[in-house]
C-alpha cells in the first residue's frame, strides 16, 4: 500500500527514471555552456530539452522565457523582489503560501509596497463579479496561488486575467503544474512560478518561472552566464538574464526523467469524490475543500473538532502508518481565510500512484481515529 499522503510537501514515490537520469548525469558530468567539448554539449542539450518540456507543460511557445531556479520560492522571490513597482500596490489571492506572503510583507515593511487581499467566497475562491467592481487603476501586480496547498481549491486564472486586463498576473503554480491544466499563452498569464518536486514528480532543488516580458523585472542574482563575458553588466536577454551561476544540472536531469515518464493516475475520480463525500458527512470533523467539487484538486485538509491537529496526525502515523502534514502548512493567510488559524489542519495530498484501495484505507483510518477520540472534548 502507498500510505504517503504528503505529496503537497514533496512527491513520493518518483518515477524510476528520475534516479536513472540523476545517475546518468553523475557518471557523465558536464556543465551548461562555458565550453564546447561533447560532455558540455550533452549536458547543455539536456538543460534545453528540459526547458522545452516545461514550455509544453505550461502551454507556451516562448521557450526562451522559461527560466530555471532552485524551487518556486526562489522563483517567486526573483519576480516579486525584482519587480519594478510604480504605484506600490499588489492584489493577492486569499489562499497564499508564505513563498508569496513573506516577500510581499518584506516589501511592505522595507519599501512601503501595500498589498490587499482579493474579494472572495468562504472557500477562498476569488469572486470575479466583485473583482470587476474593484478599482485596479493603481495596482502594479496581481498574484494568485493557482491551487491552494491547504484546501486544494483551483482558482479561475483565465477569468481573473480577463478582468485585470493589462495588470501583470503572477501565478504561483507550485501545487498545480503536473496536476491540473496550465495554459500560459491561452490564458494570458504574464508570469508563473513552478517547482519540480511536487506535481511534476522530479527531484528537489529544481524549479523555475515563466515571464512573458522579461524587462518588467530586474535580475535577482548577478554573476557568470558564459555569455557577454567581456562585460560586467548582466545580459538583458533570456535565459541568461536570470540564470547566473551554475544551474542545478543534476536536478534538471532528474526533472527530465520525470517529465518523460509521467504516470497515469491509478485511483479513480469517482473514488476520490466518494472519499470527500464520506468525510464531509463525519461529525466532529471540519473539512476544508472547495465549495464546488469542480474547483477541487487532489489536495484537501480537515480539522478534528474533538482532539488536536497534532494528536490526530500522530495517531494516523502511529496506528496506521499514514504520513500527512498537520499544522499551518506555511500558509497563515490561507488559514486565516478559512478560519482555521492558528490551530491549522491536517492535510491530505494524493499522488498518481495512489489506488482506490489506498483511499479506502485512508478513509477507514480517519473514521477509526475519529471514533476513538470522539469523547475527548
Amino acid at each position: 500500500m502507498n500510505l504517503y499522503f504528503d505529496n503537497a510537501s514533496t512527491s513520493f514515490p518518483k518515477p524510476p527514471a528520475v534516479g536513472e537520469y540523476i545517475n546518468r548525469y553523475l557518471s557523465q558530468g558536464g556543465t551548461y555552456g562555458r565550453a564546447s567539448y561533447p560532455r558540455v554539449f550533452q549536458a547543455s542539450k539536456m538543460v534545453e530539452e528540459t526547458r522545452e518540456l516545461i514550455s509544453s507543460k505550461t502551454c507556451t511557445s516562448l521557450i526562451s522565457n522559461i527560466l530555471f531556479t532552485y524551487n518556486s520560492t526562489y522563483a517567486l522571490n526573483t519576480i516579486i523582489q525584482g519587480f519594478r513597482f510604480k504605484n506600490k500596490r499588489i492584489l493577492v489571492s486569499p489562499l497564499e503560501h508564505n513563498a508569496v506572503g513573506r516577500p510581499i510583507e518584506y516589501l511592505k515593511q522595507k519599501e512601503g509596497v501595500d498589498y490587499l487581499i482579493m474579494p472572495h467566497f468562504s472557500d477562498g475562491l476569488i469572486n470575479i463579479d466583485e473583482l470587476k467592481r474593484a478599482n485596479l487603476s493603481n495596482v502594479d501586480l496581481v498574484i494568485v496561488n493557482h491551487v491552494s496547498n491547504v484546501n486544494g481549491l483551483i482558482q479561475p486564472l483565465k477569468e481573473i486575467k480577463q478582468v485585470i486586463g493589462n495588470v501583470p498576473l503572477l501565478v504561483d503554480a507550485s501545487q498545480s503544474l503536473g496536476k491540473v491544466n496550465v495554459c500560459v499563452d491561452e490564458w494570458g498569464i504574464d508570469m508563473l512560478a513552478f517547482t519540480g518536486h511536487k506535481g511534476l514528480l522530479g527531484p528537489t532543488g529544481i524549479g523555475g518561472f515563466f515571464i512573458r516580458e522579461p524587462n518588467i523585472i530586474r535580475p535577482f542574482v548577478y554573476g557568470g552566464t558564459g555569455s557577454n563575458s567581456d562585460k560586467l553588466l548582466m545580459p538583458n536577454y533570456c535565459p541568461d538574464k536570470f540564470e547566473a551561476g551554475t544551474q542545478n544540472i543534476l536536478g534538471i536531469y532528474g526533472l527530465y526523467g520525470a517529465l518523460k515518464n509521467q504516470p497515469t493516475t491509478s485511483y479513480s475520480i469517482d473514488s476520490y469524490k466518494e472519499l470527500i463525500r464520506k468525510l464531509s458527512q463525519i461529525d466532529n470533523i471540519k473539512l476544508l475543500i472547495a465549495n464546488d467539487i469542480d474547483n477541487q484538486s487532489d489536495v484537501f485538509s480537515f480539522v478534528p473538532l474533538k482532539t488536536s491537529v497534532s494528536d490526530f496526525t500522530k495517531l494516523l502515523y502511529e496506528n496506521y502508518k499514514i504520513e500527512v502534514r498537520g499544522g499551518l502548512h506555511c500558509s497563515p493567510i490561507a488559514h486565516q481565510t478559512l478560519k482555521t488559524y492558528p490551530q491549522g489542519a491536517i492535510r491530505i495530498s494524493l499522488s498518481s500512484y495512489h489506488t482506490d484501495n489506498d483511499l479506502n484505507y485512508l478513509l477507514n483510518s480517519i473514521l477509526s481515529i475519529n471514533e476513538e477520540t470522539k469523547n475527548e472534548r
Binding site: 551548461y32 555552456g33 562555458r34 565550453a35 564546447s36 558540455v40 554539449f41 547543455s44 542539450k45 538543460v47 534545453e48 526547458r51 521557450i63 526562451s64 552566464t225 558564459g226 555569455s227 557577454n228 563575458s229 567581456d230 545580459p235 536577454y237 533570456c238 535565459p239 541568461d240
Partner: protein, 77 residues
C-alpha cells in the same frame, strides 16, 4: 554529426548557448553536416560554442533559423 569539409565552411555565432542548442537540433533534424566547436579567439574572447557548417548550405540554414526566431551572425574566412 558529420563534419563539414574544411575548405568551404563558415561559422554560425550565437548570443548564448540556448540558441546554439536550439539551432543544432534544427540543423541536425534537416540532416545538414555541421560541427560544434569553440568560438575562435580571433573572433571573440567568449568561452562558448559555435556551429561550423558548409558554406553552400548557409543560406538555407539561416532561413530555417530565422523561421524559428533564432538570430545568428555568420563568419566566413
Amino acid at each position: 554529426m558529420k563534419k563539414p569539409k574544411m575548405s568551404d565552411n563558415c561559422l554560425l555565432l550565437f548570443k548564448n548557448v540556448h540558441d546554439v542548442i536550439r539551432s543544432e537540433k534544427l540543423i541536425k533534424s534537416k540532416k545538414f553536416d555541421y560541427q560544434i566547436i569553440p568560438v575562435p579567439s580571433n573572433i571573440s574572447s567568449e568561452c562558448g560554442m559555435c556551429i561550423k557548417i558548409d558554406e553552400i548550405s548557409s543560406i538555407e540554414i539561416i532561413n530555417i533559423l530565422k523561421i524559428n526566431n533564432i538570430n545568428c551572425n555568420i563568419y566566413s574566412k
